[in-house]
């Protein structure tokens, strides 16, 4: 089985992230919370004054940046997988029903989506954090609550396009029930779109978590997350730019990898994109 470079990159990064997240305790060279006030602002190993003890250097409290990044991946992976899955399921189910059954179902769902999207998302998450208290569960819930509409709108539109095609009419004429037509005929044609949406959402979830951490609305303050690391690093960007750049690179890389994963999976499993090779 040949794996395209895109799929390889995407899969590689995400498998790596999951591995890091689960094995953080064993993989990380230091305790992410351990302070070493003699070694604050140590530069990365390859720069002047860097040591191989702290590969990516240390922050203002002398905590090891590499270890903090590795521990931060746990939050990122949790959010990317759980939030994207929940938002995806909620939005997809509603979008499928609205698009396929139309009528009052569509009217109700579409109006809810319209009203929902009129709320500013940042405000919505701050309100949620205020009600539920800061923490990982709040971040996940905030992402689901904000982003299910993205799935819902796109899936609804795609289902309406698919429904107008004659294979759906044909399925009616061979006596399939609406439920069978939706699940057996329409859904397989929406799956490639779902793959793209889901992987995009993984990237978005990671960014949103970082933003909420940055605003201090995510997990407890001293726990390492990529967003909180950027926030802390921001204050020292002139002395130690790597404090901020390291978590940023992680975020950018995981978002890029999410998009590559989506493209790669589509190309791999979509018979319409698979060209016959002689």
């Amino acid at each position: 089985m040949r794996v395209s470079p895109k799929l390889g990159f995407g899969l590689g990064v995400y498998l790596g992230l999951v591995l890091l997240a689960f094995g953080a305790h064993w993989i990380a060279p230091h305790d992410p919370l351990e302070q070493d006030l003699l070694n604050t602002f140590a530069p990365p190993a390859w720069r002047d004054g860097g040591t191989s003890t702290f590969w990516l250097g240390t922050d203002s409290l002398g905590r090891d940046i590499l270890s903090r990044l590795i521990h931060g991946s746990r939050v990122a992976v949790t959010v990317a997988l759980i939030a994207a899955t929940c938002a995806g399921i909620l939005g997809t189910v509603l979008g499928l029903c609205a698009g396929y059954f139309g009528g009052w179902v569509d009217t109700v769902v579409s109006r809810i989506v319209d009203v929902w999207m009129a709320f500013p998302p940042v405000l919505l998450s701050i309100v949620l954090a205020a009600v539920l208290g800061a923490g990982l569960h709040t971040v996940v819930i905030a992402i689901v609550v904000i982003d299910w509409t993205r799935f819902c709108r796109v899936v609804r539109a795609e289902v309406m396009v698919q429904k107008s095609r004659d294979y759906v009419t044909s399925a009616l004429t061979i006596g399939l029930s609406p439920w069978r037509i939706l699940t057996g005929e329409v859904v397989p044609n929406v799956v490639p779109l779902l793959i793209t949406l889901f992987t995009l959402e993984m990237g978005i979830a990671i960014v949103v978590e970082a933003v909420l951490s940055f605003a201090g609305l995510s997990v407890a303050n001293d726990d390492a997350t990529w967003g909180s690391m950027i926030q802390e690093g921001r204050q020292f960007v002139r002395q130690a730019w790597w404090l901020m750049v390291a978590p940023m690179v992680c975020i950018v890389l995981s978002v890029l990898a999410a998009n590559a994963l989506g493209d790669g999976l589509r190309e791999r499993f979509d018979p319409l994109l698979r060209r016959e090779r002689p």
Binding site: R165, D166, Y167, T169, S170, A171, L172, T173, I174, G175, L176, S177, E185, P188, N189, P271, L272, E276
Partner: protein, 280 residues
């Protein structure tokens, strides 16, 4: 149901009387108001018997495709009556229609749109067999599907392919194989040769000639030459009304309605005629 299979030969398989249909005009819809309703079919009378092929001709907007879909009860008529094998199905609920659908099938205009792009050819053809419970299991269905593909002159090698890997003519054969899979009593063929090259078109028409003895066939087309080559009777539609109908030979030899004459005069035959094009 099984008693209904032996239809009396004089009794038409399908009979429509004064069929009318209104559809909502979505383009004309305004906020907070119901979409205006357009009358698409304005009182159509039509009947087809076993072994008979009837052509429905008309230009775009004549309502011929909508008529085909109404005859299959994909739309519910607003007025008139529709009987299939003697039973009134004008307002029958989908649950009652479902078992009957095995005996009324459709071949669609655009096979790329009517074949699910994510199913393999053999599964597409096997689907009606499974859905109507005509086979015991999937493997029997696939075996039958391969026989059907052979019947429409597609080799076994196509069974495992996807629709987009086939040519237009091959796809249309798959559409025919699926339509005849459940041995229907009525087949509605909607513009099924319009996008094809003449040579492929001739092949598909030959295939239709073979299957038309076993079923009642409603052949919808804009092409009068094709209708003449295939149909026993013809029905000319214009703006939701049948302007002329009769035996094909009679209608073509002595068209009575101006519109029919106009249609015939507009067909460019492949022979030289400097006067045909006329002047404005």
């Amino acid at each position: 149901m099984s008693t209904m299979r032996h239809t009396d030969p004089v009794l038409p398989v399908l009979e429509a009387r004064g069929l009318r249909l209104h559809l909502a005009d979505r383009a004309g819809a305004r906020w907070f108001r119901k979409a205006p309703r357009l009358e698409i079919l304005r009182g159509i009378d039509l009947s087809v018997a076993q072994g008979e092929t009837i052509g429905v001709v008309g230009e775009s907007g004549s309502g011929k495709t909508t008529l085909g879909r109404t005859l299959l009860r994909l739309y519910e008529p607003t007025d008139g009556s529709l009987r299939f094998e003697g039973q009134d199905i004008t307002h029958a609920r989908e649950e009652r229609l479902r078992p009957m659908r095995a005996r009324m099938q459709c071949i669609f205009q655009d096979p790329l749109s009517s074949l699910n792009p994510r199913h393999r050819i053999e599964d597409i053809v096997a689907q009606p067999l499974l859905s109507f419970g005509l086979v015991r299991d999937r493997s029997e269905a696939r075996g039958r599907a391969r026989q059907l593909l052979e019947r429409v002159q597609l080799s076994q090698s196509f069974a495992l392919r996807y629709p987009h890997e086939l040519s237009g003519g091959q796809r249309q054969r798959v559409g025919i194989a699926r339509a005849i899979a459940a041995s229907p009593k009525l087949v509605i063929a909607d513009e099924i040769v319009s996008g094809l090259d003449v040579s492929t078109q001739a092949q598909i028409l030959m295939l239709l000639r073979e299957i038309r003895a076993e079923t009642a066939l409603v052949f919808i087309s804009h092409d009068l030459s094709v209708v003449r080559a295939l149909c026993d009777r013809v029905l000319v539609m214009h703006r939701g009304v049948v302007v002329e109908q009769g035996a094909t030979d009679a209608v073509f030899a002595r068209p009575e309605h101006d519109y029919t004459r106009d249609l015939l005069a507009s067909i460019p035959l492949p022979e030289r005629d400097p006067n045909w094009i006329g002047s404005a």
